[in-house]
Symmetry: C2
């Protein structure tokens, strides 16, 4: 077996993922748990990390590179932000070292966009971008990273020119549970691919994004007067929010800018279909692989590993 | 004192308002309570109405004209909808009579827009429109009726050509309470007029409505990295949602269409300021007066009162 070289950690708000990486760059061991920032802030970040390192018998003193919410103000140690425009290759050098421990444990910074009209922050996705950069190559790219807070990043020659966070996933939950629309979609299953109602809602938003909150009410009105069924109602809600996000992101780039979709799991299908409904054919990059590649790029830059 | 001629009732989801109208058209007595449809569906609609009629010693057998949610499916008796395009003057004749009672008690219908791309319903506001019609006069008008579900109606020569419901008020509550933005605005007071943050948020939406859900996230990011204070954060949330509504409504009419604002209470200030920030100078019509005038127009048409 190859000797361990370093440990890579993606530490989100509600998830923890750790990989033990060998000197040949291969994954020697992997751990996944729900001990994200929210949990670790109570139980202790060092304790969570050490318990996982013990579980895989990692050699003592191994260097650890972390990205994500562990570097937030409420995290382990605040890792701050690089301001946009920011070169992806400048991210590793801005990592912050955990003080008072012998091992070299560092947390990568987030990115901040200090535009008064559109202040925005990213934490974790910058590492996915670093990992996806090689695959994307130079030139201009619009990178979509779907999620609770979807991020759309404008890349130019390996530099983050700017980005926008759309609250799509969180809004979907808040609206589905806490508004009158809940009556129309309570009995629906999860929104999946292949729904005409979903695609039509996306198309309407791409054409007329200004009507977003009226289209949301149409989910209720459609159920009242047009026999809109729960599954289609829920798909219409989802398509409206995702379509609005796509319209917003496209409004900030030149027409024809290549689009990349960095995603893992079920959201990939949904966003793939939404982007197709908007007339886009994105390059798809696996988000799990991208974050590991980003941490590898960081480890290489910091420790020549 | 003038003799009573009829009773006018505006029966909403959560509010009940009754006026005893004299033969000269003046208001002889008024009642307001929280016994809206939601309450009355439990305690009985006839009981609620009778208790208020007793309280003002209304003569037995007086005719009663009702508008609003009492005519919804979950209301007293379903009063259905007139389909758009609909002439305002056709509304009274479509009123539905309460069966099994001696007095002539009728509920006015709502309006339905049976457009598959934008199904929509109105119930109650059609009566405000009927009451505002004389003041508006003929020609084309875009009428804004703010609220939990803001209605924007496109009128042409006394006909409702179409309308759009924006879930602005309900979304504001759902987002303020149930998303990450709650952290940034929890300590804020009510949003009032005179806020630069509010006006700037409206202007941004009128210019770039597609960025709505990203502007929502900027409320949080602004608090994190740009020192956005709670009052300004809340004003930014409100201005984003109201500005998006204005952008959507304007997208459906010819430039220069006269705008009217039918509103009562504090929302009038906020929407007046939002419309001004969008470069509009609306005619302002009091909503309370409009609904009473609308019921009067209905009573006149139905009973020559």
């Amino acid at each position: 077996m190859t000797e361990p070289a370093y440990v890579a950690v993606d530490w989100g708000t509600s998830s923890f993922r750790l990989w033990l990486i060998g000197k040949d760059g291969g994954v020697l061991a992997e751990r996944r748990s729900g001990e994200g920032m929210t949990t670790a802030a109570r139980t202790g970040f060092a304790e969570v990390l050490n318990s996982h390192l013990s579980a895989i018998d990692a050699p003592a003193g191994l260097s650890v590179l972390i990205c994500g919410m562990a570097g937030a103000k409420q995290g382990w140690v605040e890792a701050g932000y690089l301001d946009t425009p920011a070169a992806l290759l400048d991210i590793p050098a801005a990592a912050v070292r955990i003080p008072g421990v012998e091992a070299d444990i560092r947390i990568l910074p987030g990115l901040a966009q200090r535009d008064p009209a559109a202040p925005d922050v990213i934490r974790g996705e910058e590492t996915q971008l670093l990992g996806a950069a090689a695959e994307l190559g130079d030139g201009d790219h619009l990178v979509c990273m779907p999620g609770t807070h979807s991020k759309w990043v404008r890349l130019s020659g390996g530099r983050v020119e700017g980005f926008s966070t759309f609250m799509t996933g969180e809004l979907f939950d808040a609206i589905a549970k806490n508004t009158i629309l809940s009556h129309s979609i309570a009995e629906a299953g999860p929104v999946s691919g292949g729904s005409d109602a979903f695609r039509a809602a996306v198309s309407r938003m791409v054409k007329k994004p200004a009507l977003a909150t009226s289209q949301l009410f149409s989910v209720r009105a459609g159920a009242l007067i047009a026999g809109l069924m729960p599954d289609d109602a829920k798909a219409r809600l989802s398509g409206t929010l995702i379509g609005l996000e796509i319209a917003g992101a496209l409004s900030l780039v030149a027409e024809g800018t290549p689009v990349a979709l960095v995603v893992s799991g079920g959201l990939g299908t949904l966003y793939g279909e939404a982007l197709a409904a908007a007339g886009l054919a994105p390059v798809v990059i696996d988000a799990d692989t991208a974050v590991r590649n980003g941490l590898a790029a960081g480890a290489k830059a910091l420790w020549s590993l």
